[in-house]
């Protein structure tokens, strides 16, 4: 059934459709509408679960971990400073191998203060052992939450679904709401082998010797690596059930492209428009959308970019002293590529600044001119600034 709603509300719908029994969260702009919508449904009885109103994001995550270990599906939503505060618990979640699913609304990190879109908050958490998806719009966010549960509950790792503040969280668009029966068919009840057993009491997170720590980290790595294949498989099953799918990366018109623009999140949508326009004007430009960021789908990216010579990665994030984070990851993934493409890092949309199709066109035309590799990122500002 089609509905007209914001990205935040699309995520709330996903949580309801997944019959999540426990939601622990703390409100923060721009994520609060998710929290409010779920609260509203809890009050009206439409949500078959409970909202734990915790005193902080740190506690919200701690609650999700503990609840998950009792064997129930859990959800939280956060953003920016909230996810930064949560950081310690994010490690606990992956270390405890709990399939918590979190929606993160990408918002810049202070200081200075602001509420605007920037992916640094979740990308700063890339080493916490969470599966990470970046979504283009509300529809994809809704679908990704459902997929995230399927994947997370199979590999016992937590998963994060990110959308950008305002451009997705607050944009109202047409969203196709899946039927409850479809979701029930797609998502079986959760089963956690290491859940707490009342008859066999024990405790998790004991002190372990070095070798044992290494063993479990290595096992987690094996599980995490399996996500690349599993996510594709789950996405295919999702396509079979719901008629939509996304892949873990999405190449668009790359086969003959002289330049491939790589994007993640909402800029992808705008880039689609820009590239179509450039193609009409005769430029051979392609687009690669990276949807799965952790685990980083290096093989899929190498495959998609085979034979390409020039790549422009547009990042709405910036690692001070490094550069665009997607670009860093992509360069590392392409290091074994026989094509040795030139990969340029463009920084655009930082702090929620507008990324318009013309800006992406400028990036493409700029890349066409370049023949020498360049390490430093190129900041794209508005005309005249």
């Amino acid at each position: 059934m089609k509905e007209f709603m914001t990205g935040n509300h699309a995520i709330a719908h996903a949580v309801k459709l997944c019959r999540t029994p426990l939601i622990a969260a703390y409100p923060i702009t721009p994520q609060t509408p998710i929290y409010e919508k779920l609260s509203e449904w809890e009050a009206s009885g439409q949500l078959k679960g409970i909202m734990m109103r915790t005193e902080s994001e740190h506690s919200a995550m701690a609650s999700c971990i503990a609840a998950s270990l009792t064997g129930v599906r859990t959800f939280t939503a956060s953003s920016s400073q909230g996810i930064a505060l949560m950081h310690e618990m994010l490690h606990f979640a992956s270390g405890c191998r709990v399939p918590v699913v979190m929606a993160n609304v990408n918002r810049l990190l202070a200081a200075p203060w602001g509420f605007w879109a920037d992916q640094l908050d979740s990308l700063s958490q890339r080493d916490t052992g969470w599966i990470q998806f970046y979504c283009e719009n509300g529809q994809e966010a809704l679908d990704s939450v459902i997929q995230a549960y399927r994947i997370a509950e199979q590999v016992y790792l937590p998963a994060m679904v990110s959308i950008e503040a305002f451009f997705v969280s607050h944009f109202m668009e047409v969203v196709d709401l899946p039927e409850q029966e479809q979701v029930d068919r797609f998502l079986p009840p959760m089963d956690l082998p290491h859940k707490f057993d009342m008859d066999k009491p024990g405790f998790l997170v004991p002190v372990v010797p070095s070798e044992l720590y290494r063993k479990y980290k290595h096992m987690a790595q094996v599980s995490m690596d399996s996500v690349k294949g599993l996510a594709l498989q789950v996405d295919q099953e999702f396509r079979n059930e719901f008629g939509r799918g996304y892949g873990i990366v999405e190449p668009l018109m790359v086969e003959d492209a002289e330049v491939v623009v790589v994007t993640a999140g909402s800029i992808t949508g705008t880039a689609r428009v820009a590239i179509k326009e450039l193609r009409e004007r005769g430029y051979r430009i392609g687009l690669l959308k990276v949807r799965l960021f952790r685990p980083f789908p290096g093989e899929a990216i190498r495959e998609a970019l085979r034979g390409r010579k020039r790549i422009a990665v547009i990042d709405r994030n910036f690692s001070l002293g490094g550069g665009g984070i997607f670009c860093q990851e992509l360069r590392a993934a392409l290091v074994h590529s026989p094509d040795r493409p030139l990969v340029f890092s463009y920084i655009a949309g930082i702090g929620g600044t507008d990324v318009r199709p013309e800006m992406i066109e400028r990036v493409c035309l700029d890349v066409m001119e370049r023949t020498e590799p360049m390490d430093t990122p190129i900041w794209i500002m508005e005309e005249g600034s």
């Binding site: 270390g95 016992y156 082998p193 405790f203 372990v208 294949g229």
Partner: protein, 580 residues
Amino acid sequence: MKMDFRHSSELVIPISYGSTEVIETGRWGFQKPETVLMTAPCQEACPAGNPIPQFLYLAAEGRYDEALRALLRENPFPGVCGRVCFHPCEARCHRARYDESVSICAMERYVFDATSDRSVDIRPHRNHHSKQVAVVGSGPAGLSCAYFLGLLGHQVTVFEARTEPGGVMRWGIPEYRLPKSVLKREVRRIVNLGIEIKTGVKVGGDLSFDQLMDFDAVFLSPGAGSSLPLKIDGEALKAVWRGKELLERINSGGRIRLGREVIVIGGGNTAMDVARSALRLGSRVTVAYRRSRDEMPAIQEEIREAEEEGVRFEFLIQPVRVSLLKNGRLAVKFQRMKLGKPDQSKRPKPIPVEGGFVKLEADALVEAVGEAVEWSWIPQRLMSRGLIDVGPSLLTAQDKVFAGGDAIDQPRTVVTAIASGKKAAISIDLYLRGLSSDDFLSRIEVGNQGSLSMEAYIAGIEQGRWPEVKDVVPYERINTLYFEPSGRIRERKLSRDKAVKGFSEVNRGFSPNQAHASASRCFTCGTCNYCSNCYFFCPEGVISLDPLLQSRAVDLEHCKGCGTCARACPRGVVEMREVS
């Protein structure tokens, strides 16, 4: 590749099925919490040493039977005290400094009213030293002494000259303040302990003082039953009454007609009882007192209730002569008085105003200016200035004879009489065991004002477990942040119109909801009420509480000594002490 971990959870994450209990984290700390039970100020102020925080805690929990049992360990008359006590406890209540004091007296009454004695399980302790003790007089002092001696396992015989036991509780205090049924229940409980009460036996008549010496010990508590005369002209007139005698007549069910207007002389509780009884007999009543209102020795509430019921007061006048008028009424001539310097009683001495006289007319005059001990049967060497002379242990000048109540030099209230009965019982028990009271009374004190704990005495003398003497909780030790301000709850009362129509009890006590709210206001200073604050705040989970068994324990092997529990305790029960 699909991972399958379903065979064993160990393949996903390490789980320890052992216990961390073996790690004695308690050794890391350099201080440990100690449960430091302390005496509440109310308890110290109660002459009978009532366990006020304990009984209020139990009442707040709705455990009224247990609350009654707690009270009965220290006081055989909760039903009486809950009605007639002047409750010095409430003046010392810490809650009074926070908002308003807890209605302790009314709660004592409620506990009595809400229970029956069927659940009371008081049995005498087995006592290998069991002896025969005689008690003379069955007022609050005599019956308390008998009760506690009975608890301690002695054989007690009470001699009572009147037809029924109770003394002032039976014959002095009017029915509208203390219904006879209440007293009956209290006395029955005492008799059930195996106490023999011989009524209608007058020592000095039916039984000689010397015959008492056949007992192993004797407690004299004859009370102060005879009203003092004013020693003025016209006192012998038929319409002039003595307060005590009048009250006794009323309490005997006699039909009395005082006439339309009655003057009551005096400012004490007897005067108030007389005045309010006279109102109920249909008279208009004026109380004449030689000092001013501030100096009246009666309980403030009694004065206020008398005023509310319509008793008029004339202050600073003293009768000098009563004469009979032709119409049969009385003419009373009063001397006007003024207040002078404080006298022996530390109150301003009333001095006559020269030439100042007032004349009032009335149909009857009641003198209620004080009572004296009727001591014709007591050897004179035991007496001093009209009272029985006693030492600190209440021993008289004669070996094995002890005394208490209104017949000795102490405030004449029911609760002080009970206190002296308790003290005498302990002194007698020690005497019968051949022990010196000097060595023991100080070990069972409740606070520093002379109240004693029978529970502490029994634990010490029977089991050798003499408890540590507890300090009184200072207000600063109460963590008032944990309490919400709330107003004192007042008892329900009969309306004035209904009250003065007869002798029905005026005070109707608390409703169950009022009682719960009222008991819940208690800070339970110095007493753990299992509020669970320490339990919830303890980051180590090493505190265990059992409200039913009233136990509070800390697993010291795993307590790191953070001190959170001491900070979180609302009532100052937990103290951190350095580990030596």
